[in-house]
Amino acid sequence: MGKGMWVFAELAETAVRKVTFEILSNVRPIADKKGEEVCAVFVGKTIPEAAADQCAAYGAHKVYIIEHDALASYTSDGYAKALADFINKQQPSIVLFGATVVGKDLSAKVAAKVNAGLATDCTAINLDDSGNFNVRRPMYAGKVYADIGFPNAPIIMASIRPNVLIPTPPDASKKAAVEKVTPEIAAGDIRVTIVETIKTAAAKVDLTEAEIIISGGRGMKEAANFKMLEEMADVIGATVGASRAAVDAGWKTVSDQVGQTGKVVSPNLYIACGISGSIQHYAGMGTSKVIVAINKDPEAPIFTKCDYGIVDDLFKIVPVMTQELKKLKAEG
């Protein structure tokens, strides 16, 4: 087995995604115990200079920057070729990714290329008593958790769910060695053409990365009523989600759906408005740190498995709640 614990450092436009820092600071103590280096690996056309320092502040000993004109936008073909070739050359022991849209796509392709073992969407990383690297991950959309080991893997890979591992405070005095790498990408390596990128005006922060989520369900009654949730969201910096019932009714789009067949989220605070709390919905948000339910039905199953509940008409509660939160925010 090789040496070095790598973290694929993912950019959102020019900013490093938070999940990258979450992974870096949590893999560092593991690497220290094993006597290995932590390396952040960027792939792209031009990586912003500050990005490397940020990774150092969160625990990277070394930052590899793989740059090529053909890597300006993410493609599975391009990024996986660049990263897999470099992995084959350097032979790290472990490569970790954020379990984002890009991270899940890339990790699966790279793992197939380099013959790695891969665990998706992990919520914990550990060394066992014998010094083996293990992960914990939800299965069946969180109805079951499993500890996963990699006994036969020549190289270990895992993608880590955003918002779960707690980052250490950054230390700006820490510096990392930066090494630029030029990948070999030939014409024809990238078989897919990006025709267009369509940005939907909606969410500022994606549900999977949001710290606070306010979701509406069947009890919202119609699409226009989600404006009420948007207003509360603006006050506390939340992202608005929806239950399957609300999506199937056409009030919100599929990309807003939280649940077993939607997005699995893990915010600090999840406020469910007019959501009864089916097993499928719970599977998508059960790992939220604090869950609040507002529902007029005292028998709604969600009240049996959340932290705080208000039994009342959400149309009465949500507007006054927004005002109360505004007051609290004004107090600082």
Binding site: D105, K113, L118, D121, N152, D206, T304
Partner: protein, 265 residues
Amino acid sequence: MNSIVCLKQVPDTEAQIRVKPDGSDVLLQDVKFIINPYDEYGVEEALKLKEKFGQSTVTIVCLGPERCIESIRTALAMGADKAVHLDDPALDGGDAFTTARALAEQIKGMEYDIIFCGKQAIDDDAAQVGVALAEYLNIPHANLVIKVEVSADKKKVTVNRQIVGGEEVLELPLPCVLTAQKGLNEPRYASLPGIMKAKKKEVKPVKAADLKLDAARIGAAGAKSKVLKCYSPPPRTAAQIVAGESPEEKAAKLAKLLREEAKAI
């Protein structure tokens, strides 16, 4: 326009999943099984392409135990033409990569223009098989597809896929692998005549030996990740119900609790 749909049978989304007392695995007795919902979108999309282009065959490829035949028949009743069932205990207990390897070995001898997989199976939630399958077949893939438009000359496909904050439109040469996301279509129900016809459609059984793969690369022997221990997540307790005389009082109390007790705002 020949399509292959990779199909997995999974526990119903309604199912409560319990863990064996020794934590070695989950208990799947008495669980109702269904076609993985994301694979069902793949079946529907393949059928739509067949309707559009005519002269097409839709083949289901399924890896899993004997019980999967029920889900295979459901897909055939929806309108798929035939199926291949990789059913062999030697293929069990693997990881996504051993599964993808076996599927690739099976599929490489078949005629196809497009392969549909679900974006993930809702049991192990790995989201790896479609991508790995494309890699092993050395063809491109697109994940999280919500719209599919095959060109008239059947040489390429334009897809919309979900990305963070929007959609990406990609063009891929055929053949390729597409993994289906919710929103791609509304899967049809099997009709009664469809169910009758499905009984006569061909389901070809395939054994591990037919795939000519090294025994060390299939099933549990080939897996590079392994479940060490399963457990149920700690149950949440019932809510602290925030009471009050008026909505204003309840809302004010809750806001205060969220700030001072839960420290969530």
